[in-house]
């Protein structure tokens, strides 16, 4: 007799619980909260009036409009940003989070929306062709130890270039300027701040194109993160990301905040219905 009652109670609890969580999900999809770590210039900062602004705020609001969702922002320190998502403090993370296999075990990622490129830099008067591997024999290149740039250079150029590995990117820049290094392969935003290489008369110059591939080394880029089960919500944002890329809104926003290209255009396959 007792068993019957217990069974019925458990069944009842399960059914109502399911209905309840469905209702919750229904409601929370109309009004969702986005978690973000503030500040990270120029992606997000708090301005003098106390409002959040920046590239990711503009982009996030744009994506929400397109997905027909009412979005609000929740501030969360980086260390607790995934636990906060799993604990339902917010429904998605939009905070320059790079896609990694470790994180993929815990959260569901949208399509990537940006990835910062890496660049080859050398002195302006040097005549180096980075694509002609034979001509690079014996040249020295500086990278920060253990970074994806280190991995790329080691894998692609380890047999020809003399690779110097430094503890900090500051040291790399120092030795490029001192003349110990012929080349450096650096993260674009870091190089942009530390080395004068973008004007016609600046002492350094970029070699070849900015590099974001292969994704096996450079990663796919930064993406929104959701709880594993919220597949429908993630799909809405995937669609919105495809849209902002397709109609040029992304480029407008990017030009507003950056003077270099950090777009990762989704493939047609990714955007197919």
């Amino acid at each position: 007799m007792n068993k019957w009652i217990t069974g019925a109670l458990i069944a009842g609890a399960l059914v109502s619980g399911q209905a309840f969580s469905q209702a919750m999900a229904q409601e929370s999809q109309d009004a969702i909260r986005l978690g973000i770590d503030v500040p990270y210039e120029p992606f997000v900062v708090r301005n003098a009036e106390g409002d959040l602004e920046g590239f990711e705020i503009d982009l996030g609001n744009e994506l929400c409009t397109r997905a027909n969702l009412e979005c609000s922002w929740v501030e969360q320190g980086w260390d607790g940003i995934i636990p906060g998502l799993l604990a339902r403090k917010y429904d998605a993370i939009l905070s320059s989070m790079a896609i990694t296999p470790e994180r993929e075990r815990q959260v569901l990622f949208s399509l990537p929306y940006y990835n910062t490129p890496s660049v080859w830099i050398t002195a302006r008067d040097r005549d180096i062709d980075i694509d002609d591997k034979a001509s690079l024999e014996g040249l020295s290149v500086g990278v920060q130890r253990g970074t994806i740039r280190d991995v790329y250079v080691t894998q692609e150029y380890g047999d020809v270039l003399d690779i110097h590995r430094y503890g900090s990117s500051q040291d790399v820049v120092n030795d490029l300027k001192s003349g110990r290094l012929d080349l450096t392969f650096e993260d674009f935003p870091i190089a942009n701040d530390a080395i004068d290489f973008r004007q016609d008369d600046s002492p350094y110059k970029q070699l070849g194109d900015s590099i974001k591939t292969p994704t096996s080394i450079f990663g796919e880029g930064a993406a929104m993160a959701f709880r594993q089960r919220d597949k429908a919500l993630a799909a809405k944002f995937d669609k919105a990301i495809c849209e902002v890329y397709a109609d040029g809104t992304f480029d407008e926003l990017m030009e507003k905040y950056f003077d270099y290209d950090l777009s990762v255009r989704p493939s047609e396959q990714d955007c197919a219905e």
Binding site: G146, H164, R165, G167, D171, N174
Partner: protein, 243 residues
Amino acid sequence: MEQLNGWFTDLLSDNTIFTANTLGFYWGGFVTTVQLVFLSLVIGMILAVPLAIGRGSKRRWIKLPIYAYTYVFRGTPLLIQLYLVYYGVVFFEGIQDSIFWVVFKQAFFPALIAFTLNTAAYTTEIFHGAIKNTAKGEIEAARAYGMSRKLMMRRIILPSAFRRALPAYGNEVIFMLHASAVASVVTIMDLTGAAYYVYARFYAPFDAFIFVALIYLCLTFGIMFVFRKLEKRLLAHLRPRGA
């Protein structure tokens, strides 16, 4: 035995870190560390002998500069000295165009200079202490034979001082080996540099650093063994009789 063998094979079959490639890195690092430490110790010792004699001189213009040198190099961290020699020299205007650039362009020579100056400072003080502590009786005996100061230094004081300095110098050699770990901050691929690389590449701090710690341990053991033998031979006259 077979069991042990099987266990060992199992252990190594899952191992993705210690491949021929990374072991090559460690070997390269081993060679660099030994070269760097050996060269700086040899050059440092050659410098230290005249400096130690000068350090005990009665003339102030000889004594004081040497004292200032050892004071500065023993009073500041080796890492700072290395940074100054490596990154500091490039602030001299036009060094890139001078003949010195051949030496300073690579990381090896700035590191060798910093290490040599450092160990020479310590060795000078060790030798100076030993010279100062030479038994009065030995000196008086030498004088009684009518030896000049030079001859006395060569025949009596230095040989006796070196023997007595041996244990302290052995420690300095081991300290120098351990201190050489800072070389990796100026991009030298020494043992620690190789360990850093493996660590950064595989995110495996324990494997990378425990392995390198074992190599340092073996090197230290080798140095201790050599000095133990040397002490036994050269300090035989100081051992209590019958022991």
